[in-house]
């Protein structure tokens, strides 16, 4: 009987029949002829979710095989709708990939040829004691071949299993790597992407150095998303691209005095110009991703208009993507972003402003403390009757405070920052929703006023649904508004205040 707990070995090299030999002690080894070589591809998403969790996903022909985790090797059909995990057919591989961020598409990391052999070990009565299925991956490019041995023990023959395991390990070229190292072994030249790289900010650096470091790193992050946006692999490439550029822009506006004022304004202008062609596509992505939520907001009688609206979004998205892809491929864009990179990465770096040489530690404390007090001042002025503008101002203030705390986080012990970030995040979620509902109402209103006419009857259906949607969003915005004062009072507790003071106010601490 097959044992559910199988054991899988990753063995560097082709593990040729000659290397395997024909006997292990008194026992015989039989290895079948390899089947015909076919192509394989290793799949992972842009952020390497599978590799980081020790999984390797192999697509060969119509089969997806997943290595790693408790199950050993599991397989299912490769048929899928799109490249998201949710688009896979239900099966054990899909189940084992539930940890993968749902919006990240599975992409080819590298390819090569794959072949299979079966091995069995028998005793003097020709009884099989253990079997193994050998899968050899031979990568294209400069990587090394790897053989994956799935051992299928037979009950009661544990000793034979151990013997075979040792024998296979001894036959391999080098020691067995972990599943997480398999993909780098096969495809060593494949770049690894990190959306949130650690930027080393050290206490004795200057503000100017630190700002330059953060900007350099995030411009690079943005660039690593360009190809994925152009190929339209998934919506997260554009999202990461925008987040990275927004970080660049916020360093420019928050790190005051690091560069001369004119220079800062110029850089900010460039960053905004880089951002602006991405806005429409991102907006449409956000609406299309939330499609189910919108349908849930309205009764079925109003779904027809929503379907019309989303169909128009889908069409518009195609055009918006084409336009952005063309922009990202243009020489104008290319020189704008490489010039900006060069301005920070060059040997001289950008010119220095009045605060350039301040030590980053003092500089950070001053900025955070000032921003924190400003946030509190705005928030304490907010009552149930305060105009929405002031709420927006609070949202922007919180955002800036959060960016500052995150940029300078390496300067402070994580355990000290985490408890004060938590209520800030909660307040920001609250403010974020309040803002989203408001932005969505404006977006829908603009869409309704400006869309291409579909004909009188259809326009009416569309208008009814959008009108209803705006009403629901308005209601939700009011609910969020009502929560803001409570969220702030949680953030404004005596504990949090004293922690802010001790971390960021050197004078009063």
């Amino acid at each position: 009987m097959k044992q559910s707990q199988r054991s899988v070995l990753i063995l560097p090299g082709m593990l040729a029949d000659e290397d395997l030999g024909t006997t292990i002690g008194d026992l015989e080894i039989q290895v079948s002829q390899p089947d015909a070589e076919t192509d394989f591809e290793i799949l992972d998403n842009h952020i390497g979710s599978l590799q980081m969790s020790g999984q390797v996903l192999i697509r060969a022909g119509k089969t997806l095989t997943l290595l790693g985790g408790h199950e050993g090797l599991i397989s299912q059909g490769a048929a899928s709708k799109g490249n998201l995990v949710t688009g896979l057919k239900d099966g054990p591989v899909k189940d084992a990939l539930q940890h993968v961020p749902p919006l990240r598409g599975l992409l080819g990391v590298g390819s090569g040829t794959i072949s299979h052999r079966d091995l069995s070990m028998t005793d003097d009565e020709n009884k099989t004691l253990v079997r193994a299925h050998l899968t050899t991956l031979n990568p294209k490019g400069g990587g090394d071949a790897v053989t994956i041995a799935a051992l299928h023990p037979l009950r009661g023959y544990d000793e034979a299993l151990e013997q075979l395991r040792d024998h296979l390990r001894a036959s391999a070229e080098t020691a067995s790597p972990d599943a997480a190292d398999l993909s780098p072994m096969l495809f060593p030249d494949q770049p690894r992407y990190n959306a949130k790289p650690d930027v080393a900010i050290v206490e004795n650096a200057t503000a100017w150095q630190s700002a330059g470091d953060v900007i350099t790193v995030y411009l690079q992050v943005a660039r690593e998303n360009e190809a994925g946006i152009i190929a339209d692999h998934d919506t997260e490439f554009l999202h990461d691209y925008r987040v990275a550029l927004r970080k660049v822009r916020s360093v420019l506006s928050l790190f005051k005095g690091v560069y001369p004022e004119e220079q800062t304004a110029k850089f900010k202008g460039i960053a905004s110009e880089l951002m602006s062609p991405t806005g429409r596509l991102r907006d449409l992505d956000v609406y299309l991703l939330a499609r189910d939520d919108y349908f849930a907001m309205l009764p079925p009688s109003l779904h027809k208009g929503l379907a019309l609206m989303f169909e128009m979004f889908r069409k518009e998205r195609r055009g918006a993507h084409r336009a952005l892809a063309a922009h990202l491929r243009s020489s104008g864009y290319h020189s704008a972003i490489t010039d900006l990179q060069a301005a920070f990465a060059g040997t001289d770096g950008p010119p220095k402003g009045p605060m350039a040489d301040a030590s980053v530690g003092d500089y950070a404390r001053r900025l955070i403390w000032k921003r924190y007090r400003k946030v509190c001042r705005i928030a304490r002025g907010i009552t149930a009757d305060t105009p929405d503008d002031q709420v927006h101002e609070l949202r922007i203030g919180c955002k800036k405070l959060r960016y500052l705390m995150e940029f300078f986080a390496p300067l402070y012990p994580a355990a000290a920052v985490k408890p004060i970030l938590k209520p800030l995040k909660r307040l920001q979620d609250n403010l974020g929703l309040f803002n989203d509902y408001s932005v969505q109402q404006a977006f829908l209103q603009r869409f309704m006023d400006g869309h291409e006419p579909l004909g009188h009857k259809q326009d009416l259906v569309l208008a009814q649904s959008i009108g209803a949607l705006i009403a629901v969003l308005h209601e939700r915005q009011k609910e969020e508004r009502a929560r803001i004062m409570a969220s702030f009072s949680q953030f404004d507790g005596a504990d949090i205040r004293s922690q802010f003071r001790s971390l960021f106010n050197a004078k009063e601490a």
Binding site: M1, K2, Q3, K127, P153, L154, R155, G156, Y157
Partner: protein, 253 residues
Amino acid sequence: MKIVACYSNKGGVGKTAASVNLAYAFAETGSRVLLCDLDPQGASGFYFRVKPSQKLDNDAFFEEAKQVAKAIRGSDYDNLDILPANMTFRDFDVFLSRMKNSQSRLKKSLKAVGSDYDIIVLDCPPNISTLSENVLQAADLIVVPVIPTTLSERTFEQLLEFVEGQEATKVSKKKIAAFFSMVQRQKVLHGETMARMRDTYPKRILKAALPFSTDVERMGVNRAPVLAFASDRPSAKAYRQIFAEVQTRLRES
């Protein structure tokens, strides 16, 4: 989990061959099967090339279900494991008869081990004794090969009488599913005996009958079930029909 016992109070009727092929047929359908070789001659294990286990004794079988689990060996076929015979099983019946409440112990220890399996097939030794009482009680179905001769007819009657004597211990003769084994069509006696017995025990005898075949005898040379090495032969087909009827009866039991 269901227990199927292959049993006959007469030797040499094709009981082990039936156990081996039924176990194989169950495993083929995806059920997880344990074939227990309770016959001291150890023939079922031999057919699967499994060497007799060495450490198992009677104490172990009834008191240490874990030790039984250790003695189990995987066959070369998916879903099919063997509990090989141990020569000390020869005294198995005697041992049991000395124990109080022995009737329920087999069932208990099988349950303890059987959590891994959907089907347990017991290849029983050929006599009516304490082990047999245990087997009769534990089994959901008792498959009895009968060679259609006058003598076998007589032994089958004895078996039914014995079973009826066991009413108190929840053994019902409804569990008995006999099939004609080693049937030789050219023998008039075989034909007459089969007709008479089907008439006398209409519900106890399966429709399918196993013809006399050298394929079954070749199992000892090939050391594999007929179903595995001669799947298209008449005897294999007969085993499949017997299996189908056994499955139906198990579902109804």
